[in-house]
Amino acid sequence: MAERCAQSGATVVVERGWETVSHYTSPEEELEAVRRSVGLADLSRIPKFDVRGGCSDTLPELDAQAGIWPQRPGETLVTCPPESAAAVREQLDRYASAAGEDAPVYVSDVTAVYTALMLAGPESGNVLGRLADIDASDTALPNLDCVQTGVHHVHAMVARQDLGPLPAYLIFTGREYGEWLWDTVMLAGVSCGIQPFGSKAQQTLEAARP
Amino acid sequence: MRQLFRNDRMWRAHELKGAYDIVIIGAGVHGLATAYYLGRRYGVRKIALLDKGYLGYGASGRNTAILRSNYRTPEGVRFYNASLKLYEELSAELGWNLLFSQCGHLTLGHTDTAVAGLRVRAETNQLLGVDSRIIYPAEIQKLVPHIDCSDRPRYPIMAALYHPPGGIIRHDAVVWGLARACDRMGIEIHPLTEATGVRVARRRAEAVLTNRGEVAAGTVVNATAGWASTICKMAGVSMPIVTPPLQACVTEPLKPFLDAVIVSASLHVYVNQTGRGELVIGSEIDPYQSYSMKGTLPTLEQMASSALELFPQLHNIRVLRQWAGICDMTPDFAPIIGRCEELDNFHVDVGWGTYGFKAAPAAGRYLAELIATGKVPDIIAAFSPERFRRRRLVGEKAAAAVSH
């Protein structure tokens, strides 16, 4: 994906050992676009943990910023901001080691397994409706809920994690589909005026989260 | 010429009698062909053909009418070539034009593995005297000026198996022509007559029960394609058959531009243009079992998408109808023809999957021989019901993902 960003003329910086796009045009312009219509960011670097077994449907209290996305009974995906990775991992490991012999829990770091793109802005539900057969309305997919779906028959998981008042969705697919997914979402967003945004704009937007 | 202005009835209605020498369940192309050859070659006339729908209701009227003999195994090639040869002569024999257009048949390969699979077929075909060869994009483009042989598609065309004698025929005409010929021989055709049971005693299927009464039978033939396993079940015979739907659609008529039948196994699609100018687009069998004959939207979208990979300039052509037929699939994708082991007078002509239509004349001709003489003709020996017990399967499955 870094290659793709370099081609698009993005400004790339290194954050916590990751090559990250700071901005594509300018952080201000990107913020404006996301708030007005819709933007897309590559969040593949966010830490992801796969928690299996036990009663992992009922996870312990985790870091406040962690996203908890039940996949199916006994299987949960946990995400968190890069800075809380160590804390969340520790919380999960503690939970696993406390699990009983008869219902063991397994935690794996699956950060590299999934690509994650963030679709944010008032038009984001609209773009989602051009990609996948899911009901993105507030009643069917409220904030902090997630749903399994397909994008062009590629298995995907969509998780809603609003940025304060701004609706936002994380789209997960296998990492091997990363570049393709980026292109596909951008294509679907053309008529809504989609704008890629970098980590600068993203950080500002995330500050709006309660 | 005189025939043009004669409006004789094609077939007549009859009262259902209490007994026949032979009762054939299923009056599609297979049942009709069996009756036709029994009458024509062996003089058997006391035959009743039963069908639960109107004539040509089932797969005979739902297939995409493609004929070819470029199969993978020697057994398959010999059999389908015999069928093709019978089809070539059938219009003249029946005095009824089946509109058989030998426009050529192209099976596309988009990967190394697929091309190797096509070569297996070309080589076997050539050694058995069937016109079939591998051709490459330049020649494909010449034969089909409208197809996209460039690098633009996601899976560019690497080569094709070209089979000049293959083509399309008018499927309904085959049903009607055979029905007329049977009727002229005194064979009775009973549409809207549904088999509801089979009375079995002393290792024999003694009678077929129908919604119009019971019919005693000297010999019973099951030629019901998609419903094959349900009819067998009535007779207490089990068949290793599953029944998935197969879908197709047709577009508005266009001026003729596509003269060959195009098949792409990798894209799960086949396309040809009928004599009326419509494009017929077919898909691979659906990945689930069902007796539903309604089309589905995802399959329609997939057919359109695949067709546009091959012919991107067709994007604004409109689809008029979609439909589904149901297919009786066997584990090795080869048919089951012959007398069942369990019953002495119960014959099956089933398991035709997605290529029953092109087999009808040969299946009918040789099943008729088996019924009339009691001996299994060599050409269908490989397709016997007992091969599953003996683990002597036929290797068509490897060639058969989409092989219409």
Binding site: G53, P104, V110, T111, A112, V113, Y114, G129, R130, I134, V154, R175, Y177, E179, D183, T184, L187, V190 | M1, L4, N7, R9, G61, E88, A92, N97, D112, A116, R119, E123, T124, R152, R154, D172, W176, E252, P253, L254, K255, P256, F257, G275, K294, G295, T296, L297, L300, A304, S305, A307, F311, P312, H315, I317, V319, L320, Q322, R391, G395, K397
Partner: protein, 890 residues
């Protein structure tokens, strides 16, 4: 291109001549206003045809617009500069020489083509000429004349509680009602504005305004205008096609609704009398639309065919518009319409009534196809003169005229009609009442066989214009009533939809390895492997031959060291206490007893003993296995494992981690030296045996190393998290530089493995291969308690093989069989080559082939076809390279 503001007029081109249009005009309306009366020539008889329905239902106005064939110009909005041309005419609409075919139609009674040219040589000679006459729209441009730009087709998914189909008064009322009950409503309306038929009835203008205003103001109602539902599929899925607001392509919308209200109203269909197809004969609703929507006066002097209030209403509308209504004639009194191309009068028993417009109050046919598709029945009602929907599935309901409200029969049914070659039951296909009668007498007396034999209702109108008439004729001829005759099956899509809209955006998925751009930079020549892109090889110079490139990469591996990206291999982590149990059940070998730190070749068979997949299984810890699968079978293997796990209650967790690992194989005599520079793991054989695995760091990245030997040299498969992939790849290339390392591609790998006689599942095996015939009997452990395929494999072990997979070497230099070539015995096929390549170590080609069991004998000479001719080869069951496997264990 002339741009005009919508309020002014603008022009477009018909046959290169400008046509003036007003804002809001359809193409057809503008043409009609400009004096055009003949829009098309008919399919078979090339009869001139003009506007009939003005609703996009009939085939009379199909034209080519900007290169798109079969456009219904009567409803398609006109735009400045568009180019409109007729189709299926020669040379022009006004004068079509093929119209002469009418004179010969006595030679072409219904089904004539079945009854002639039955001799093969004759048919082969005439078929091309008959074929040329077929078709309607233009053929698409050949591929070299097609611009190749993908048009933008969008698709959307809409979820709703109530979908209402139809924006007429019933639909609007239903939408308001549902909205009042608090439901989310999606209203799907074909028109650009709400109101349905209220739009073109001036007296209803106020009612329309009020209703439409309420719907627009209602809570939770989304209106999809210019949209039509073309299919009611299972599970509440509606296929909807929507025209864009301003040019562009139509789009497909998937609507999922819990409840569907079908308020699609009625379609007016023609009545049967002689010359009912002449230009100037119009349906009453068509006339209403021309007047009400476009302000066009359709004629000077009209005869109305019809009776009752409908006829009265249309008469006063015409009079108000300044048309002289010559007479209103009951349908059963019409003998024929007169005129050559254009109607000039109506003949009745009382003589001819001159006119230039014949307005037909036709059948009002409930537009109930969708209800039929959804599983409802259509039952005949004499009172309503229509087939009405009944027995609807629970989530579907009908509202308004589609279910018969306010519907009266236009004529008694089954209707009377003349047996005429000029009384058209089907306008699309030029099927006359005479054709239908003939066909019915010939035995095609079931409505479905009648349809197939005469092609009635199989044309572009999809039965809208002709279904009711053909049922009527069939009912009358057979003496069975309308209800008994019944309707033909209604199939989607109806209305039709373009292939482009169905296909949607052209953006097929691509899987890329984390090293994709590294390969690109190294000059990779790509090949597709499923959805993956893989380097076939790396071209150092553009003009190098494949053989030369492969030999270069090959020699690096055999003599020094090479590295290949094996990222596309399926990778699965299996964790949990009972993992061994599951693997023992699914795979044919033992894995529960595999020691931690060891790797084993693994095969999956199905219940019949057929090989489904192969790969390796490494035991990383007691409760942790790492599986690799073939690239194409990953999804299957995951599902297969999950399937056999269901309801066991075992503690097993299966995770597909394919995309999360960057995987490379470093192989060759110098492989150890290269890797040793990057890791602390002891790679010496004493510490790290062949078929062992270790965890550690490689170039600072957490890694799993498997010592395996697919290519036949000492080597390690190195798996690291994908994000480290590029770093590790570059580090390996840098460390290997002094040893002459080269990256190699799939083609080179295939040569290397073939020399080792390593089988590729799916290439060297097919859908019927079992381990015994494939010459890998050691992969099955029949003494194991139970596993999938055990019973069949037990039988197969002792049964005679049908055929066997053998290795062979070509005896002549320069003869390299292509994959798929035949093995011959006495000129007959006796087997097939699955893989063959030139072997650099052997000096001739080597390969794998399936041959009949009796041929499969060590040292036997066989004929393999090369370029269509037999060439000698010898069977060799041992590997062609290092048969003892010493190099793997160095």
């Amino acid at each position: 291109m002339a741009q005009a503001s919508p309020s002014e007029g603008f022009s477009f081109l018909l046959n290169d001549k400008p046509i003036q249009a007003k804002a809001g005009d359809s193409i057809g309306a503008a043409m009609f206003r400009a004096g055009v009366r003949v829009f098309t020539r008919s399919f078979k008889h090339h009869r001139p045809r003009g506007l009939l329905c003005v609703a996009g239902n009939c085939p009379n106005c199909l034209m080519n617009v900007d290169g798109t064939p079969n456009v219904r110009v009567c409803t398609t909005p006109a735009r400045p500069g568009m180019r409109v041309a007729p189709q299926n005419v020669f040379p022009s609409l006004e004068f079509d020489v093929l119209a002469a075919s009418q004179k010969f139609d006595w030679l072409m009674p219904v089904g004539w083509y079945y009854k002639t040219f039955t001799r093969r040589p004759v048919w082969n000679a005439v078929e091309p000429f008959i074929r040329k006459a077929a078709g309607l729209g233009e053929a698409p441009p050949s591929i070299d004349r097609f611009s190749g730009e993908d048009p933008d087709y969008e698709q959307r998914y809409v979820h709703t509680e109530v979908a209402v189909l139809g924006g007429g008064p019933s639909g609007l009322t239903a939408a308001l009602e549902a909205s009042r009950q608090g439901s989310r409503v999606t209203l799907i309306d074909e028109q650009p504005q709400l109101g349905g038929h209220l739009r073109f009835t001036p007296s209803d203008a106020e009612r329309r305004r009020v209703l439409a205003g309420q719907v627009e103001a209602a809570q939770g109602v989304e209106v999809l205008s210019r949209a039509q539902c073309f299919g009611l599929y299972e599970d509440g899925l509606l296929g909807v096609v929507q025209l864009p607001r301003d040019g562009g392509e139509e789009s497909l919308i998937h609507v999922r609704a819990e409840r569907v209200v079908v308020a699609t109203g009625v379609i007016e269909a023609p009545l049967l009398f002689e010359n009912n197809d002449l230009v100037g004969v119009m349906l009453s609703s068509g006339v209403e639309r021309l007047i009400g929507l476009y302000g066009i006066v359709p004629g000077r002097r009209a005869v109305i065919v019809g009776d009752g209030p409908r006829a009265g209403r249309i008469a006063s509308l015409l009079k108000d518009s300044g048309v002289d209504v010559a007479a209103t004639v009951r349908p059963d009194q019409v003998l024929s319409v007169t005129g050559a191309a254009q109607a000039d009068g109506v003949r009745t028993a009382g003589g001819k009534i001159p006119c230039d417009l014949v307005v037909v109050c036709g059948h009002l046919v409930p537009n109930a196809g969708l209800l039929h598709q959804a599983g409802g029945s259509l039952d005949w009602s004499d009172e309503n003169g229509a087939f009405l929907p009944t027995r609807l599935p629970p989530h579907v309901e009908a509202a308004g005229q589609v279910k018969g409200s306010d519907l009266t029969a236009a004529v008694p049914s089954p209707p009377a009609y003349p047996d005429s070659k000029r009384c058209y039951a089907c306008l699309c296909e030029d099927v006359t009442t005479s054709d239908l009668r003939t066909a019915i007498r010939e035995g095609f007396d079931h409505i479905e066989t009648l349809k197939r034999y005469t092609t009635v209702s199989m044309g572009p109108c999809q039965g809208r214009m002709c279904q009711i008439s053909s049922i009527g004729v069939c009912a009358r001829e057979t003496g069975g009533g309308m209800g008994e005759t019944g309707v033909t099956t209604s199939r989607p899509p109806n209305p039709s939809i373009s292939l482009g809209a169905l296909a949607g955006p052209r953006h097929p998925p691509v899987k890329r390895s984390p090293l994709h751009h590294e390969h690109e930079a190294l000059g990779a020549v790509w090949m597709n492997m499923g959805q993956w892109k893989r380097p076939r090889y790396y071209a150092p110079e553009p003009d190098w031959s494949e053989q030369r490139i492969v030999e270069r990469e090959y020699r690096a591996v055999r003599e020094r060291v090479g590295v290949v990206d094996v990222g596309p291999l399926g990778k699965i982590e299996v964790r949990g206490r009972d993992s061994g149990k599951l693997l023992d059940k699914v795979y044919t070998h033992r894995f529960g007893s595999l020691k931690a730190g060891r790797v084993r070749y693994a095969v999956i068979c199905d219940e019949t003993g057929t090989i489904l997949d192969d790969g390796t299984i490494s035991r990383l810890a007691d409760d942790h296995y790492f599986l690799t699968t073939t690239t194409g079978n990953l999804e299957f293997v995951v599902q297969w494992l999950e399937w056999w796990l269901v309801e066991t209650g075992w503690d097993v967790h299966i995770a597909d981690v394919t995309g999360g690992r960057s995987s490379i194989n470093v192989a060759g005599p110098k492989a150890r030296e290269v890797l040793a520079e990057l890791t602390d793991i002891d790679l010496e054989t004493a510490a790290f045996k062949y078929m062992a695995c270790r965890r550690g760091e490689v170039a600072g990245a957490p890694a799993v190393l498997l010592r395996i030997g697919f290519v036949g040299e000492m080597g390690w498969e190195v798996h690291v998290p994908a994000d480290y992939g590029v770093h590790v790849w570059r580090s390996v290339l840098a460390a290997g530089k002094e040893h002459g390392i080269l990256p190699f591609g799939v083609e080179t790998q295939r040569v290397l493995r073939l020399e080792k006689k390593h089988v590729i599942v799916g290439v060297d095996t097919d859908a019927l291969s079992n381990p015994y015939e494939a010459d890998i009997p050691w992969v099955t452990k029949l003494e194991k308690q139970d596993f999938i395929g055990k019973a069949s494999l037990g039988t197969l072990q002792s049964a005679a093989a049908n055929e066997r997979l053998i290795g062979f070497t070509m005896l002549e230099d320069g003869k390299v069989p292509e994959d798929g070539s035949s093995v011959m015995l006495d000129g007959r096929p006796a087997g097939r080559v699955t893989s063959a390549r030139y072997s650099f170590v052997n000096g001739t080609a080597v390969g794998l082939a399936w041959v009949s069991d009796e041929l499969a004998e060590e040292g036997r000479e066989i004929d393999v076809r090369v370029g269509g001719k037999p060439a000698r080869a010898r069977i060799q069951q041992a590997a062609f390279y290092d048969p003892e496997g010493r190099r793997l264990r160095m």
